[in-house]
């Protein structure tokens, strides 16, 4: 897919809580096609201690308004600066980057996200629904506050939740949810993005039950388009760039 570099206009900054915002960014012309699982590299202006762009998942796309949404968790100076962007500001992106989630093996899909890793699952859910596949989401967080953007997910399909402190949904990690705790899970395909320990547990679970599993990695990157070779994942074929060969990998391809 052709890559672009453009100034987008911030049309909305929706603050979800003390650490998450959703930025709505408008393309100056016609937004090119973008696939679920792809990401953008955001140039962070006016953040003196940052140097590189920040890779951020594409959370949602609206072709009618030529806009995309980025779900941003404020973890350092760069993402905090992004959280301060206001409607009318510009935001320079290199996009769309990376491969994408591919169509499921079977119709019973479960999209499992943890923390900020829920970001690409919304666009994936929308895409699956358009393909006639009903997405089911399993979203985990530390506590109720961390379960964000739930309405958007609920508009697409069934949503299960877990929290570590039990403040909402099933208490524990995603793997402890009843939908997973059965000898015969009704799942043909898992898609997951989130903390690596969570994805590793899911990959193991999928292997045990003969379920296909696609994982989206968020390795540290310098460029995002295959030039620096910094973001490598260890695969059955050696080191592969998360930015160009991924970020989505079949879980059995990774040396986990």
């Amino acid at each position: 897919m052709k890559k672009y570099i453009d100034d987008f206009k911030v049309v909305h900054n929706e603050r979800l809580n003390h650490e998450y915002v959703i930025l709505t960014l408008q393309h100056p012309g016609r937004l090119p096609a973008m696939l679920p699982g792809q990401f953008v590299e955001v140039r962070v202006d006016n953040a003196p201690h940052t140097f590189l762009r920040r890779p951020i998942s594409i959370h949602d796309v609206d072709e009618k308004t030529n806009t995309m949404k980025l779900l941003v968790q404020e973890v350092g100076e760069g993402t905090r600066r992004m959280g301060q962007l206001q409607a009318g500001d510009t935001c320079n992106l290199v996009y769309p980057l990376g491969n994408s989630f591919s169509l499921p093996k079977g119709k019973r899909v479960l999209l499992v996200g943890g923390g900020c890793g829920i970001a690409p699952l919304l666009l994936l859910g929308r895409y699956l629904k358009e393909q006639g596949i009903a997405p089911r989401f399993l979203l985990g967080a530390r506590s109720k506050d961390g379960l964000i953007a739930m309405e958007a997910f609920r508009s697409l399909g069934e949503v299960f939740t877990t929290t570590e402190d039990g403040s909402e949904g099933t208490k524990g990690f995603v793997i402890h949810h009843p939908v997973m705790r059965t000898d015969t899970p009704e799942i043909d395909q898992i898609y997951t993005c989130g903390p690596e320990p969570m994805m590793k547990v899911l990959a193991k679970y999928a292997a045990k039950h003969g379920i296909a599993c696609q994982v989206s990695l968020e390795n540290q990157m310098a460029c995002g388009f295959g030039a620096c070779l910094c973001c490598v994942a260890d695969t059955r074929d050696g080191h592969k760039c998360t930015c160009t060969d991924g970020p989505v990998f079949d879980s059995t391809y990774l040396k986990w």
Partner: protein, 303 residues
Amino acid sequence: MVDLTIDLNGLQLKNPVMTASGTFGYGEEFMDFFDISRLGGVLVKGTTLEHREGNAYPRMAETPRGMLNAVGLQNKGVRYFAEHIYPRIKDYQTNMLVNVSGSTIEDYVQTAEVVNELDKIPGIELNISCPNVKEGGMAFGTSCPSAMAVVEAVRKVYKKHLMVKLSPNVTNIAEIGAAVEGAGADSISLINTLLGMAIDAKSRRPLLSTVTGGLSGAAVKPVALRMVWQVAQAVKVPVVGMGGIMTATDAIEFMLAGASAIQVGTANFIDPCVTAKIVDGLENYCAEQGVEKITDLVGALEL
């Protein structure tokens, strides 16, 4: 119309702007962003005799105005390059130079021999300065006798333009520059990355799998500029300057310090079009300053 052309000791460049090895892939990665035939040259990813997997992840850490990397020369080996990559890139309308690295002198020689047979590769850049591999690399570039030995050995088998890339991790870079000139280098490029380190105070662990790595980006520019200036005064062959160049003004500073051409590295990650902007910026600077030939800027520092 400003004359931007450079004669780099026989290697003809349409302008002084090249891309630094390891920051520009094989050029292909940037084709969506701009026409790379606008560049004076492209230094392709560090190439070794055999396939290398490079170092373990994590290989990168952002630092103030820069970054550390510890990629460790990941590449598929020179034969793979010759068979599979060269046919794809050979017709790009710019100088495609191969950066050659190795663990032993014999590695360098054999790699250079393979590249010597590739008609449309007009030169190599001998990397005696990679800080991220255990053997070879920087070890060759940090003493005069070893630097001379590898350059002399490659000079015997390599017939086209031989650029030698120096390590800044030395006490006296002018000495090393003079040594590789004496050993047969056609041009000298510098600087490779500065050996550095980053620590996560919370976990008390290093941020790189290799503990230490190579520092690049805007942060290193003053060091690079000083070293280019020192080497340019110590040698007669042309010097190719790099280290933290982010803008056309940075590039001009390197030329004033004595660089005949420049390479842009880490800036490519932040703005993939930056090299095209630097070409435009050089032309504008010359036009504004009444400079007819850009070569008039080389070493024009007024003391």
